[in-house]
């Protein structure tokens, strides 16, 4: 389709004006990237948009480049947390050299989804190492919740935080208490909000 054949999809008019401008988007857990946005405005019905879907192509190309950076950086970040590529492939049951392929740009949306999960919750590799066994998974979750609560409690003046970890690391209990601002919604309970043993 050539540009002079483009019509307004809303009313069918050929009386349209085309413009281009640079737009930016933030890749989830990745860098911001720029792409050229194409916009048409119909002079008859005044509806606007990318009548010929030209922006989609520009967006996808720019997004792919940003994703390559995200994949590379995430794999390197995981390596820095002692989650090597070979370890990651073994525990998630991926074919050998999968992460090498990903690093060189040969990755899918599913690969990015898995990397985002691993970047946000690196301990998921420990869970995968234990083949997602339910008791172990719960134990890790409670351990990480205790760590997160500890972080939150340290940031709030007057907060009281206690965590009990059994010597073998198999059981954890955590209690955090602090005064919530009076204006915010409160959950009133006479038992700790999170208290669990595993």
């Amino acid at each position: 389709m050539t540009k002079n054949q483009i019509i307004c999809p809303a009313c069918g008019s050929e009386n349209i004006a085309r413009s281009e401008f640079e737009n930016t988007e933030q890749l989830t857990l990745g860098p911001e990237f720029a792409f050229k946005q194409v916009n048409y405005k119909c002079n008859e019905c005044e509806e606007e948009g990318d009548f010929a879907a030209e922006t989609d192509k520009n967006f996808v190309v720019a997004q792919k480049s940003a994703q390559e950076g995200l994949v590379r950086n995430t794999i390197e970040e995981l390596c820095g947390r002692n989650i090597s590529m070979a370890f990651f492939e073994r525990v998630f049951e991926l074919p050998a050299r999968t992460l090498t392929r990903w690093k060189t740009g040969d990755f899918s949306s599913s690969a990015i989804a898995l990397l985002r999960i691993a970047k946000t919750y690196p301990w998921i590799a420990e869970v995968a190492e234990r083949r997602f066994e339910s008791n172990f998974s719960r134990g890790i979750l409670i351990r990480e919740a205790a760590i997160a609560l500890g972080t939150v409690a340290q940031e709030i003046p007057g907060a009281n935080f206690q965590v009990v970890v059994r010597a073998d690391n198999a059981a954890v209990s955590a209690v955090a208490s602090f005064s919530a601002p009076t204006q915010t919604p409160r959950i009133v309970s006479d038992t700790p909000l999170i208290a669990a043993t595993g």
């Binding site: 019509i7 307004c8 999809p9 809303a10 009313c11 069918g12 008019s13 988007e25 989830t28 916009n39 008859e44 019905c45 005044e46 509806e47 606007e48 948009g49 990318d50 009548f51 879907a53 922006t55 989609d56 967006f59 996808v60 997004q63 939150v152 709030i156 919530a180 915010t184 919604p185 409160r186 959950i187 909000l193």
Partner: protein, 129 residues
């Protein structure tokens, strides 16, 4: 309450066929990005065409106000839907002249969520502290 002007299944089927059949207006595209993280027209149409609109509920059917051809009135159907925890709103119409469906609006629904999520708001705020 008015009846839908269009058969929802016809619209959903058109969405599976991509941008040749359906156009997403600029305002709808902007809120699709900000509210649903759907960044391209193709992604919007794949989402809508592949059962992305959960529990769709018809809201109303109103005339397209910008229609320059008063001899051929065009109705815009509005539906509420869910996508996970999000309560959404979509409005669309069909233009027989161009044989294209038009998604005029796709955004978060400003009407209150009819589901019972009493604890969700306070709990989210608490955890965000």
């Amino acid at each position: 309450m008015s009846e839908p002007t269009y058969n929802m299944d016809d619209f959903l089927k058109a969405c599976t066929e991509g941008t040749q059949k359906v156009f997403v207006h600029r305002g709808a595209m902007e809120t699709a990005r900000s509210d649903f993280n759907l960044n391209t027209q193709e992604r919007v149409l794949r989402f809508v065409g592949n059962d992305g609109l959960e529990k769709p509920t018809f809201i109303n059917s109103k005339q397209w106000e910008n229609n320059p051809d008063s001899s051929t009135p065009i109705q815009v159907d509005a539906w509420a839907f869910f996508s996970g925890l999000l309560h959404g709103y979509i409005a669309f119409f069909f233009q027989p002249k161009t044989k294209k469906w038009n998604i005029k609006s796709l955004k978060k629904n400003t009407e209150s969520d009819p589901r019972n999520l009493a604890l969700h708001g306070p709990l989210t705020k608490f955890l965000a502290k």
